[in-house]
């Protein structure tokens, strides 16, 4: 479990706190989507979980962040890394190897994954991310989106209890983006992995996350099950969040007094909503 209590953090280089008075509990096996505008504190929230804050980015740290009872301030990042796998926003900064296969092996060998398990995990990670054909490719020859998949594959091969991902689909096409989320769902459901993902594609995120956390200027302003948060579509639009267009349609139908049910998540539910209106 991850517990943040009255957590405030200001980077040494920052003019104001990146996060303010954060009280947040993320339970084992949860699938949490973090949304918000640029500069809202989304990446900092992920850094607080994997210990990058305050160990690599120094600053004023108030309150506490506990990961499975370990205080992140007192725990070395390499110790936290065993528990928490991270996929960073800038994949180029994450890659350490020349070849895709080596990138996946690097983590597993360093974490002491038993030798007879390595091949199975490597194959599964490449398959789940849809890149078995890239196994022997040079990382430098890959497209931005392909690198993003390699970064995700390298982390899932480690099977950490918690995975934090900072915009893992930023450079991916729609089908590949969905593939990444299906893979996260698989890990969440099969191994009970806790997933915490920062994502700008709110429509996609809503189809997979159990809960949403909306940050604005360093504070949590909405938090709860996806449908509950989507009820505040007006507020989200006001802030500048990309509300899925089927949710905007739902709002419009409610406003025109044509529909009184819940906000749809995805096209299938939107179709059901329209069928209901027209029945």
């Amino acid at each position: 479990m991850i517990q943040m209590k009255e957590f405030t953090f200001q980077y040494d280089t920052g003019k104001k706190p990146a996060l303010k008075n954060i009280d947040l509990e993320i339970h084992d096996g949860d699938f949490v989507g973090i949304i918000g505008n640029s500069g809202a504190g989304k990446s900092t929230l992920t850094y607080a979980i994997n210990g990058i804050v305050p160990h690599y980015y120094p600053g004023d740290f108030y309150g506490s962040v506990l990961v499975d009872g370990m205080d992140t301030v007192d725990t070395a990042p390499e110790q936290l890394a065993v528990k928490v796998g991270s996929v960073f926003q800038d994949v180029d900064a994450q890659m350490v190897a020349t070849y895709v296969e080596d990138e996946l092996l690097f983590g597993m060998e360093n974490f002491g994954v038993p030798k007879d398990e390595i091949e199975a995990r490597l194959t599964e990670a490449l398959q789940k991310t849809g890149i078995p054909d890239l196994r022997f490719r040079e990382i430098d020859s890959l497209s931005g989106g392909q690198k993003q998949k390699v970064a995700v594959a390298a982390i899932i091969a480690l099977r950490p209890d918690i995975i934090v991902l900072d915009e893992p689909t930023g450079e991916l096409d729609p089908e590949s983006s969905d593939q990444i989320f299906q893979m996260l769902k698989f890990l969440n459901e099969t191994y009970g992995t806790t997933i915490i993902v920062v994502e700008q594609k709110v429509g996609l995120l809503c189809g997979y996350a159990k809960r949403l956390v909306l940050l604005e200027q360093g504070e949590i302003i909405l938090e709860g099950p996806v449908r509950e948060v989507l009820k505040n579509a007006d507020r989200m639009e006001e802030i500048g969040i990309h509300v899925p267009r089927v949710v905007s349609l739902y709002k419009e139908l409610v406003q025109r007094d044509l529909f009184r049910g819940e906000a749809p998540i995805g096209l299938e539910e939107a179709e059901t909503m329209v069928r209901e209106v027209l029945s």
Binding site: G39, L142, S176, S177, Q200, R245, E252, L258
Partner: protein, 274 residues
């Protein structure tokens, strides 16, 4: 403005990344290059900018063969936004970053200042900010500003909205659209079909180094085979309209916007209850 004549390109000796492409990009248009990861979109964008040259065929920019144009001429007439802003930004402040482009492309210092102020205001950037202390989204805006500050005739954007939140995304696309209305031709690589629907007037779909569809935005986005064969999904409202039509509901042809969809549902509802 741009014409590809049987263009092929390969990064290695064996195999071809792009195969035998022929198409035209009209002056004054906003053309979206869409397709799955690895389809060849970025390679195509680099070819247009003259950063790499075809292994076969030729590319004409205003009827001139790009491979014969001077690099400085192309730099003055084209702006290019790279996929990763960190590969593009090279100066210590936002202001210096813009000066870097302007000093090489615009001679008149007064005009330089005017262009710089204009882009700083439009994208709400502070010239004193240090780019590498900004968020990814802000850095993307800095890179974009430096690509377009000199008002090139052709602006090539490789995933301009990656790393941006929706508000920033709308802000920069509206600015790009405003420049387009002033005559700047835009080519953008984009994965977000909602952005393509809202801003592009022309779409080129790519798959495995080939062009699989080329046409007006609405026509392409409403053609399910053009998209799904290239790992793309239609914008939600178009997707919903297609599902409703498949269910046998009529009147949903050509609907692309939330407002039009709500109005059609309201009309259909009235017909049901009448």
């Amino acid at each position: 403005m741009i014409r590809f004549e049987k263009v092929s390109f390969s990064y290695m000796e064996e195999g071809s990344t792009l195969q035998d492409l022929s198409f035209t990009i009209e002056k004054g248009s906003i053309t979206a290059l869409v397709g799955a990861n690895g389809a060849g979109k970025t390679t195509l964008a680099k070819l247009i900018r003259g950063l790499i040259h075809p292994t076969a065929g030729r590319i004409l920019f205003e009827e001139e063969d790009i491979s014969k144009c001077k690099a400085s001429t192309l730099a003055a007439r084209m702006g290019y936004l790279f996929q990763n802003p960190d590969r593009q930004i090279c100066k210590n402040t936002v202001g210096e970053e813009l000066d870097f482009t302007l000093e090489r492309t615009v001679q008149d210092p007064i005009e330089r200042q005017r262009l710089k102020d204009d882009v700083l205001n439009a994208l709400q950037l502070d010239p004193a900010d240090e780019p590498f202390l900004l968020s990814r989204g802000e850095r993307q805006k800095v890179a974009l500003a430096s690509a377009l500050v000199h008002r090139p005739q052709l602006l090539i954007l490789d995933e301009p909205t990656t790393g941006l939140d929706y508000k920033e995304c709308t802000q920069i696309m509206e600015y790009v659209q405003a420049l387009n209305r002033q005559g700047v031709t835009v080519v953008m690589v984009c994965h977000d079909m909602e952005i393509v629907l809202d801003y592009a007037d022309h779409v080129i779909v790519m798959h495995s180094g080939k062009i699989t569809a080329d046409g007006k935005t609405r026509q392409i986005l409403q053609d399910p085979t053009a998209l799904t064969s290239s790992a793309l999904l239609p914008p939600q409202i178009i997707g919903l309209a297609a599902r409703l039509m498949a269910d046998g509901y009529s009147g949903f042809e050509g609907i692309c916007t939330v407002d039009a969809m709500a109005t059609q549902i309201e009309a259909a509802r009235k017909a049901v209850t009448a």
